[in-house]
Amino acid sequence: MFGLNKKDSALLLLVAILTMMAPFILNPFPTDSGLAQFNAGYPDLMQRFVIFGIFAIGFNILFGLTGYLSFGHAAFLGVGSYSAVWMFKLLSMNILPAVILSVIIAGLFALVIGYVSLRRSGIYFSILTLAFAQMSFALAYSVLTPITNGETGLQLNLDDARILDPVNDSGSLPVTSLFGLEMRSSFDLAVGPWDFTFSVGYYVCAIFLLLAFYLAIRIFRSPFGMMLRAIKSNQQRLNYTGLNPRPYTLAAFVISGMYAGLAGGLLASMDPLAGAERMQWTASGEVVLMTILGGVGTLIGPVLGAGLIKYFENIFSKINDTVLHGWFSFLPDGIEDFLVTIIHPFVGKGWHLTLGIIFMLVVTFLPGGLVEGGQRIARLFRGKKTKDGADGAKTEPAE
């Protein structure tokens, strides 16, 4: 299908099914049960899953294939968001021009930063990208305030131009849409005690994710992808054979910057606000974590990693002491308080701690990330039957 071999088609199909059925998969617990706390199937979080999935896929094209570790990818995400919001302010609330512009601007931005940064490799490259990202952050945060609205973030106003849209005299802000299809509209499906929400915005993002994922597979399997892998495994040998690797790395850098721009544009399309902290180094670090957590150089790993981190950020951070007391209320008072005290540092505002522990465990015991974990489990089930069976289905890490 689509010029993919059987294995990749199956992978694409799997991702397609996962994303299309996400509202069901992510809401496994009935709405009134105590476990509903762990449901993640609400539009905002589902959108974040796929958007950061796109971001991580793009990052993985650079990091996973060429081995160049960029610590400044959030800058492209931020630039994409700002371009998109400016399109909403000036042109139209349709998300298509916004997303297109954000990809283009992020691409140009990546071209400039990449051209300079790629003169060095290894740690020097990482530091250069980090420096550029911090510069962009500082610019957005204070210097370019008229364009970025500083710390408050760029927002829509009632009196924005929006030259393509009809005059808005309703007194409320217009909403982002795709040819009239509003991003925030949704449909609730109640099945018994369960409640599933299907959001237009989510499905639009999901389609972008599938396209991005398909493109990533094609890049991974193309001669260009092979070239990038060659750069990762031995750049010097490549030099000696008379090949100049820089155009290839620059292309990979720009492509992954455009992925980040797409993610930023989508982020702004779902919620038309762009804040400078999107470009901060912590945001750049987050995408590195996502990729490593999921599995560097694998196709589906970054998406899983993005999902895991966003899940922690949004679900674990909201478990407060009241919720904990609710869970353990069946226990005697002393034990209840004791358990709450023990768990307290790991949930709520302590979600970073839990995430850190998981990250440590994954890196120590599963260097290939969650994907390796999945492969080990799969091997456990059928590895003894056929010796080379495991080889057939696994997604190979690049290195």
Partner: protein
Amino acid sequence: MSKTNLTRRGVLKSGAVAGAGVALPTIFTASSAAAYTNEPTGGTVTLGFNVPQTGPYADEGADELRAYELAVEHLNGEGDGGMMPTFSSKELQGNGILGKKVNFVTGDTQTKSDAARASAKSMIEKDGAIMISGGSSSGVAVAVQGLCQEAGVIFMAGLTHSNDTTGKDKKANGFRHFFNGYMSAAALAPVLKNLYGTDRKAYHLTADYTWGWTQQESIAAATEAMGWETVNNVLTPLAATDFSSYIAPVLNSGADVLVLNHYGGNMVNSLTNAVQFGLRNKQVNGKNFEIVVPLFSRLMARGAGENIKGIVGSTNWHWSLQDEGSKAFVKSFGTKYGFPPSQAAHTVYCQTLLYADAAQRAGTFNPCGIVEALEGFEFDGLGNGKTLYRAEDHQCFKDVLVVKGKENPTSEFDLLEVVEVTPAAQVTYPPDHPMFAGGALGTCNPGA
């Protein structure tokens, strides 16, 4: 470079799949039948409290959360009722709001607009919150207020002091009980004139975001009107922790007053730096060098320790006030937590009560009903004297306190003394004042 193997059949197949994918979302456009976003149907109603639990304003956030919990307790008829008996409107019965028990969810804004909006969104979409309250930074408050306007829920702003919150970024679904930069300036100016005279040169250090900008503008305008000269205004990043490099130039600028438009941890650090540089013992132009901190809070005073003594600023509320409402609130808060509440705790407690009361009076949770009930609402007994929720910009107008760091504190909480209570009339401005112009309330949005 890459093999493309395009065939007619392949293109058709891809096209069909892509088309189906694009068409898919159109199936899901039916909107729900509810009259407004998150209409509570069961026996409970959920409020969302979105405060900074990490970052530079985490202290304020923690205190806000305590006050929210207290307010929910009182609304549900537990505890001693706090300010409910002293509140001039007697609609609240202690049986929840409109007979529904009040539940709440909490979130962490991280003092970042993005994170705050994500957290508020999950409260609205996942937990079904009908009202969002909180925020300890004007940037965050403005961002979340915009979100609530779009989503169709009410936003009851917490600690936000920027003119913009009810100025150029005001929204029909948003309400602010806290005072703002203009009011601080209007209240401080006469006091500064009495203390330091009319011939002064002021140097401003300003936090670089909406609150800092508008407060600096307000203070500069008010002090210039009484004859002061503004020598310089330097913007400092919100994330800065060391201000020595900003303080050094003050010494050579010829200024004899330093105005610190900083809050929270920023202010604690910049004031400490200024004192370390010996600014307070200096004589410039034949006068004592003075430091002014326009927005004060007890939490900051505690952080700054000795350095705060004798420094003048303004505050929304202070626990040492002796009216019935304040006394009841301090007693109730103190009994539960063992120390007096901060101004942040006070304002969010009031906001929660005011929301509940508005819903009770309107007889509905519909945001448009709430907006109507709050607009032009006059009340008393919440610790600030007679207060008006102005209809034109959803800003509360009430007395402003001018305070001074106490020279001889008797306890670790007794750090500020009230110098003057500036009457509401003196800090009131017309809704179309230039510092607040440029925005529009729009119309209330019930969502759905």
